[in-house]
C-alpha cells in the first residue's frame, strides 16, 4: 500500500493519508464510473483485475527472484482448463469453486515445479527461452489433445463453463435487492478485487520475510547467496511454484468469468503482455505490477475508442485495428521502458524487511 501511495505523483508524498483514502475510494467506485461509459468498460475493469493477479504472480518470479519466465501464461491456462474440465458440460462434471479453484492452483504449482526442476541451473537468457518453449508446448498440447481422445476439444476450446457460485450465490446473475438491481459485472468486480487484495497481502508478506530476502539475494548475486547459505535450488522452485499458483487461481477465475476457454487465450503474446505489465510498472515492486496491469489493460481500449474514429475520419477506413494497436503499444512499451526508464513507471524502492521491528530503531 505504501508503495502505491508513494507512486501517486505529487500528492503521494505530501499527504499519504489522503492519498490512501483516495485510492481506496477509487477502487470501490471504479465500476460505477466505468458503467457510466458502458458495459464493455466494466468488463475491461474486471479483466484488468485478472491481469493484476497475473502481473503480481509474474512479478514474484521475474521481479523478486530474477527468473525471466516467458511461458507464464501456461499456468493461467492450467488454471483455466482445470475449471473447464471440472466445472462444465464438457465432461459433465460440475464441482463447486472451493474444490476447483484450489485444485487449479495446485495443478499450476505442480506445473511450476515440473518446469522449475530441469531449468534450475540455466542462466537468465537460456531460462527465458526454455520457459518460452514450455509455454508453447503447453499450447500445442491444448490445441491438439482432441485426438485420439478428446480431452481439450482442440482449437475450438471448451464452452459453457460454470460461473462462480459462492455457496449458492451465483455471481453471474444480477442481484436484486428490493427495487435495486446490481449487475453481475459488479459482483465479479468486487470478488476479483478481494482476490487481488488478498494476493497483494500475501505477496507483501512474502517480500518482507526471510523468503523475500532470499529471493532478492539470489537475484542480485547468486554466488554470494549460496555463500551465505541460501539453498538456491529450493528458493527457485518455491518462486516458480508460488508464481504459478497465482497464475492458476487467476486462470480459474478467468474461466468462470469468460465462460469459455480456448488455446488462443494463452498464446505467447499473452505471456509477453503480462511481462510488459511487470516491466512497465517496474520490476520487483508490487505497486508497479498493479499500475502496469491497469495501464496496459486500459490503454489499448482507450486507444481503440479514440484511434478508430479518428482513423475513419482521417482516412475513411481503419488502418490499425485494435489488435495491432495493442501489439504496437506493448512492444513499444517494452523497448522504450528498457531504454528510457528501466526501473519502470513506479520506481519505488522495494523493502525486504520491516525496520519498525527495531526497538528504538535507527
Amino acid at each position: 500500500m505504501n508503495e502505491l501511495i508513494e507512486a501517486v505523483p505529487y500528492l503521494g508524498k505530501r499527504n499519504p493519508r489522503l492519498t490512501k483514502w483516495l485510492i481506496i475510494i477509487l477502487a470501490l467506485v471504479a465500476p460505477l464510473i466505468a458503467a457510466y461509459f458502458g458495459r464493455s468498460w466494466m468488463r475491461i475493469l474486471d479483466f484488468a483485475l485478472l491481469y493484476m493477479m497475473l502481473a503480481l504472480g509474474l512479478n514474484l518470479v521475474v521481479g523478486f527472484a530474477g527468473l525471466l519466465d516467458l511461458g507464464y501464461i501456461a499456468f493461467y491456462a492450467v488454471g483455466a482448463y482445470t475449471w473447464a474440465f471440472l466445472a462444465s458440460p464438457h465432461f459433465g462434471v460440475h464441482m463447486p469453486f472451493w474444490i476447483v479453484l484450489p485444485l487449479g492452483a495446485a495443478f499450476a504449482a505442480l506445473a511450476g515445479i515440473i518446469l522449475g526442476f530441469p531449468v534450475l541451473r540455466l542462466r537468465g537468457d537460456y531460462l527465458a527461452i526454455v520457459t518460452l518453449g514450455f509455454g508453447e508446448i503447453v499450447r500445442i498440447f491444448m490445441n491438439n489433445l482432441n485426438h485420439p481422445v478428446n480431452i481439450t476439444n482442440g482449437p475450438q476450446g471448451i464452452n459453457a463453463l460454470d460461473s462462480l457460485n459462492l455457496f449458492g450465490w451465483n455471481l453471474s446473475q444480477s442481484l436484486t435487492i428490493g427495487d435495486f438491481k446490481i449487475h453481475y459485472l459488479y459482483l465479479y468486480y468486487y470478488f476479483f478485487l478481494l482476490c487481488v487484495i488478498g494476493s497483494i497481502v500475501f505477496i507483501k508478506r512474502l517480500q518482507i520475510s526471510r523468503v523475500g530476502r532470499a529471493w532478492a539475494a539470489m537475484r542480485d548475486d547468486e554466488l554470494a547467496a549460496k555463500a551465505i547459505g541460501i539453498n538456491v535450488r529450493n528458493m527457485k522452485l518455491l518462486a516458480f511454484s508460488l508464481g504459478a499458483t497465482f497464475g492458476g487461481v487467476a486462470g480459474g477465475l478467468f474461466g468462470s468469468f469468460q465462460g469459455f476457454v480456448s488455446p488462443e487465450s494463452f498464446s505467447l503474446m499473452e505471456s509477453i503482455a503480462v511481462l510488459t505489465m511487470v516491466v512497465f510498472g517496474g520490476m520487483g515492486n508490487i505497486a508497479g505490477a498493479i499500475v502496469g496491469a491497469l495501464a496496459l489493460t486500459a490503454l489499448p481500449e482507450i486507444l481503440r475508442n479514440i484511434a478508430l474514429p479518428v482513423q475513419e475520419a482521417l482516412f475513411g477506413t481503419v488502418i490499425l485495428d485494435p489488435e495491432v494497436l495493442r501489439m504496437l503499444l506493448l512492444s513499444l512499451a517494452m523497448i522504450l521502458m528498457m531504454l528510457l526508464r528501466p526501473a519502470g513507471l513506479v520506481p519505488a524502492h522495494a523493502r525486504y524487511s520491516r525496520p519498525e521491528l527495531l526497538k528504538g530503531g535507527a
Partner: protein, 310 residues
C-alpha cells in the same frame, strides 16, 4: 525406407536454412552474450521485402528471366535487412551494454514483436503466395524419393554462403578483428580494433544471412506472412545452442541436425507414440532438444566456450 530417405531430404533442406539463421544468432551471442530475439523477424522482413520486389518486377518487367528476378529480389532484401540489423544495434542494443542482464533481453523480445506488428501494418495479416520462380516439379533421383529443384538450390546456395562466411571470418583482417572482439572487447579495443564498428558489422552480416534465409523459406513453402519468422527463429536459436553457441561450425552442424531430427521425428512420431501424438506436434521437437541440450550439455555438440558470467 523411402519415407526415411524422403524425410532426410526434407530435413537437410530445412536444416540448411536453419543453419543460415543460426549463424546470425551465434555471431551476436558470441560477441555480446545477447540472444537477439528479433533475428527471426529479420528473416521475415527479408522474405516480405523480396516478395514486394518480385511483385513490382512482375508489373514492370513481366518478361524478365525468373532467376534474374529472384536474384534482384534477394539483392534488394539483403541491404534492407542489413540496414534493419544496423538500426536495431545502433538504436537499442548499444545503449543497453552494461545494463542489468535482463534489460537487453527484454528489449530484444519487444523488438521482435514490434517488427511483427510493423510487418502486419505494412503487409497485413494474410498469408501471401510467394512466387515459385525455381521449378518445384519433383524429380525422383531414387524411386519414391522426391527432390525439387528449389530444394537443391537452397542447399547449394546456403552451402556457398556459409563457405563465404567461414572464409571471411578465418582468412581476413576483418574476421580476425571479429574473433578478437568476441574473445574480449576491452583487449580488442586496446589493440586498436574499433569494437563498436565490429559489433555493428556482426549484426549487419547476420541480418544479410537472414535475408537470404527468408527468401529460401518463402520459396520452399511458397508462402510469406508477418509471423513466419518467429518459429524458425526459435528453432535456429535452438540449432545454435545445439551446435555450441558462439561457434560458427557448430551453428551449421546444429542447423542440419535439428532439421533432420525434426523431419524424421515428424515422420515417425505417430508410430512412436502409438498414434497418440501426430505430426502437429512437430514443433515440440525443437523445444525438447533445446531443453535437453541446455540441461545436460550446455556447451553443445562442438562448443567449448560458454562464458559463465555469474
Amino acid at each position: 525406407m523411402e519415407t526415411l530417405l524422403q524425410q532426410i531430404v526434407n530435413g537437410l533442406v530445412v536444416g540448411s536454412v536453419y543453419a543460415l539463421v543460426a549463424l546470425g544468432y551465434t555471431m551476436v551471442y558470441g560477441i555480446l552474450g545477447l540472444i537477439n530475439f528479433a533475428h527471426g523477424e529479420v528473416v521475415m522482413i527479408g522474405a516480405l521485402t523480396a516478395l514486394q520486389t518480385l511483385l513490382i518486377l512482375m508489373g514492370v518487367a513481366p518478361d524478365m528471366a525468373p532467376l534474374l528476378k529472384l536474384a534482384i529480389a534477394v539483392l534488394v532484401a539483403m541491404p534492407v535487412c542489413m540496414i534493419l540489423g544496423f538500426l536495431m544495434e545502433r538504436l537499442a542494443y548499444r545503449r543497453l551494454r552494461g545494463a542489468p542482464r535482463l534489460a537487453p533481453l527484454i528489449t530484444a523480445i519487444g523488438m521482435s514483436f514490434l517488427l511483427q506488428t510493423l510487418a502486419m501494418i505494412i503487409w497485413g495479416r494474410n498469408y501471401h503466395t510467394f512466387p515459385q520462380l525455381i521449378s518445384t516439379a519433383p524429380m525422383q533421383p531414387i524411386p519414391g524419393v522426391f527432390v525439387t529443384p528449389v530444394q537443391v538450390a537452397i542447399v547449394i546456395v546456403s552451402a556457398l554462403v556459409m563457405a563465404g562466411l567461414i572464409l571471411l571470418v578465418t582468412k581476413t583482417r576483418l574476421g580476425r578483428a571479429m574473433r578478437a572482439t568476441a574473445e574480449n572487447h576491452r583487449v580488442a579495443a586496446l589493440m586498436g580494433v574499433d569494437t563498436n564498428a565490429i559489433i555493428a558489422l556482426t549484426f549487419v552480416i547476420g541480418a544479410g544471412l537472414a535475408a537470404v534465409a527468408g527468401v529460401m523459406f518463402a520459396s520452399n513453402y511458397g508462402i510469406a506472412h508477418y509471423a513466419m519468422g518467429f518459429m524458425p527463429g526459435l528453432k535456429a536459436f535452438t540449432a545454435a545452442v545445439l551446435g555450441g553457441i558462439g561457434n560458427l561450425g557448430g551453428a551449421m552442424l546444429g542447423g542440419i541436425v535439428l532439421g533432420l531430427v525434426e523431419a524424421v521425428g515428424a515422420g515417425y512420431i505417430e508410430t512412436m507414440t502409438f498414434g497418440f501424438l501426430n505430426s502437429s506436434y512437430q514443433d515440440i521437437f525443437a523445444f525438447v532438444i533445446l531443453g535437453i541440450v541446455l540441461i545436460f550439455r550446455p556447451t553443445g555438440l562442438l562448443g567449448e566456450r560458454v562464458s559463465d558470467r555469474a
